[in-house]
């Protein structure tokens, strides 16, 4: 990540990630949530560690972006990170935005590396939640681009 990217990532974390994590922490009654991406590490902990946390809906997805549950219970991944498959410039697919329903395999965008397009596809059926990257932004391999909210049935 470039310095500029780091600064952007921190700003983005403060503006989007921290409120989102806090909201989730409270909603689910977890003890703490930690997200790491590159040098960036965001950890949000509840004031009351003894808070009940039966349903943990986040788990470690992949090394680049991990969220560690601090309580037991069945791990059901809810927010699925979509990461960059290549080093290059990322471009969103037309019409992609927060709230858009996608099915597994749907095109999220592509990373152009030396003129070759590396497609980025939705890993699961769900709803596009956060657009973390900006269109046209240079991205490194494994960089978080988008989060897809797992469609919860019933």
């Amino acid at each position: 990540m470039t310095d500029k990217d780091s600064a952007k990532a921190i700003a983005r974390a403060a503006a989007e990630l921290v409120p989102a994590l806090t909201e989730r922490l409270n909603r689910l009654g977890l003890g703490e949530i930690e997200i790491r991406h590159g040098d960036l590490r965001v950890r949000v902990a509840a004031a009351d560690e003894s808070a009940p946390g039966a349903g943990v809906d986040i788990s470690v997805a992949r090394p680049a972006v991990g969220v560690t549950p601090s309580t037991g219970g069945a791990a059901v991944r809810r927010l699925e990170p979509v990461t960059s498959p290549a080093v290059g410039h990322f471009v969103y697919a037309d019409g992609l935005g927060p709230g858009l329903e996608v099915t597994a395999g749907a095109e999220i965008g592509f990373v152009e590396m030396l003129g070759v397009r590396h497609e980025v596809r939705a890993p699961i059926d769900g709803v596009v939640r956060h657009l973390v990257a900006e269109s046209g932004e240079p991205v490194e391999y494994g960089q978080l681009l988008v989060e897809v909210d797992r469609a919860v049935s019933g």
């Binding site: 990540m1 470039t2 590159g38 080093v87 410039h89 391999y141």
Partner: protein, 454 residues
């Protein structure tokens, strides 16, 4: 000079290159694979960029990823380090196509020096003696058998595209040729994508001596003395030293002089190493030229005070050599010990783990090039080199005393290392008396040099 350099390597050499970039005031970007995210080079870097997953083919050997990484971070040059893409002409060419300078010889030069067999002929024509062997690439098994019969066994089968000892096979009889040739071919194909083989007559008792050269793009060349890399296990160097303790001063002078003249005449460019076999009678034979910075380059740096990485960068930037041959002063004696995550009590099997304790030796004549730190987890995907311990003394005896002290001081916990092997060998009479030939460890077995496990 370059605006910014991408370091396309890992481990100690990435740290080493980063240091020189800082000294030269050139910003640098460390390219890394996912498991190297917590590596020392990435931690030290002002800027780093992930280029791919653990698998080298998709990261450190991934040409488009490295070039793209250099472009999006605003670099105008790539230092490939050693191994990986450091001697890959297609990569040097791809860099040039994207207006990036490959820090090493230009693609055309690498291309010309890529075929070991062609280089042997080219440098022989420029006055270097070569080991007798096959007439060119062996066509097939029957050709190999006929030619080996003529040259006499044993012979050493070598991949023309090769390096680093891979695909090399000692063949002692026609029967061995029948089994070894296909095996060596498939090894070479897997490692280099090219299975052409040639052979050299095997010089049973030999030493490995190599001359370091620097040649700028204007054709000015200097040598920086030689290194003796005779302590090897299965063709992998373990200890290097300079000057060669097995040569007289006039012989050394002659070797250095012939090497730099031949390399310059053949049109070589940038830092390079000409490797020679030295037989018991003191005859030397040219084997190959390495178009990269070598693992053991610090031996030369200790003797000359010249930063070889800085010179590589300057030459690649088109600068004229700053030193003339007369200005290169070789002083004293230096050793380098390759400390690896290998268990000498278990057939040098590679080890992984977390470094729990680290005590590195220091002192006025001691240098350690390493990427280790306490808490560092050694990933299982790459080579086992952990650190290089380099010591210097006015004489070989003094340097050996330095080595003993430094090795005793050195402690690496959390993973088994070959330190006991190093400690054993420096007190061995054959090593102390400079009588180690390249086949000694494989003939006697390294166990003879390692004490019982504590």
């Amino acid at each position: 000079m370059f605006a910014k350099i991408l370091i396309g390597n890992r481990g100690e050499i990435a740290v080493r290159i980063l240091r020189t970039c800082r000294e030269l005031g050139i910003p640098a970007v460390v390219a890394f694979s996912e498991p190297d995210r917590e590596s020392m080079a990435v931690r030290m870097a002002d800027e780093a960029i992930c280029i791919g997953p653990a698998e080298a083919r998709r990261s450190y050997l991934n040409q488009p990823a490295l070039i793209s990484a250099a472009m999006i971070t605003g670099c105008d040059a790539i230092h490939p380090g050693y191994g990986f893409l450091s001697e890959d002409a297609s990569f040097a060419e791809a860099c040039a196509v994207h207006d990036l300078t490959f820090i090493g010889p230009r693609a055309a030069v690498i291309e010309r020096f890529a075929s070991k067999y062609a280089v042997r002929r080219m440098l022989a024509a420029n006055g270097l003696p070569t080991v007798p062997g096959s007439r060119g690439i062996v066509a097939d098994l029957s050709d190999a058998l006929a030619q080996a019969e003529e040259a006499g066994y044993p012979v050493l089968l070598k991949p023309s595209a090769g390096g680093g000892g891979r695909g090399m096979r000692l063949v002692r009889s026609p029967r061995e040729m029948e089994t070894s040739l296909p095996l060596a071919r498939s090894e070479a194909r897997a490692a280099f994508g090219d299975d052409s083989m040639y052979f050299e007559s095997w010089i049973e008792e030999n030493r490995h001596v190599e001359v370091q050269v620097l040649i700028d793009s204007l054709g000015n060349g200097i040598h920086l003395g030689e290194r003796d890399c005779s302590v090897q296990r299965r063709h992998q160097k373990i200890i290097e030293e300079g000057p060669s303790p097995a040569m007289t001063e006039p012989a050394r002078e002659r070797l250095r002089d012939l090497a730099i003249r031949a390399a310059a005449a053949a049109g070589y460019e940038n830092a390079g190493t000409l490797e020679f076999l030295l037989d018991r009678e003191g005859n030397f034979y040219f084997i190959e030229i390495n178009c990269r910075i070598q693992v053991e380059h610090p031996v030369t740096e200790m003797l000359t005070g010249v930063d070889l990485i800085a010179e590589q960068i300057r030459i690649a930037a088109g600068e004229e050599l700053r030193l003339t041959q007369e200005q290169v002063a070789l002083r004293g004696h230096a050793f380098e010990f390759r400390i690896t995550a290998e268990d000498p009590h278990d057939n040098f099997s590679p080890q992984t783990g977390v470094i729990t304790e680290l005590q590195l030796p220091a002192g006025p004549n001691v240098r350690v090039d390493t990427h280790l730190y306490v808490g560092y987890e050694i990933p299982p995907f790459y080579d086992s080199l952990l650190a290089k311990l380099i010591v210097w003394g006015e004489t070989r005896t003094e340097a050996l005393a330095q080595a003993r002290g430094a090795l005793d001081e050195c402690r690496v916990e959390g993973v088994k290392t070959n330190l006991p092997f190093h400690r054993g060998i420096i007190d061995n009479a054959a090593f102390v008396n400079a009588e180690v030939s390249t086949n000694l460890l494989d003939r006697v077995g390294p166990a003879a040099f390692v004490g019982e496990p504590a």
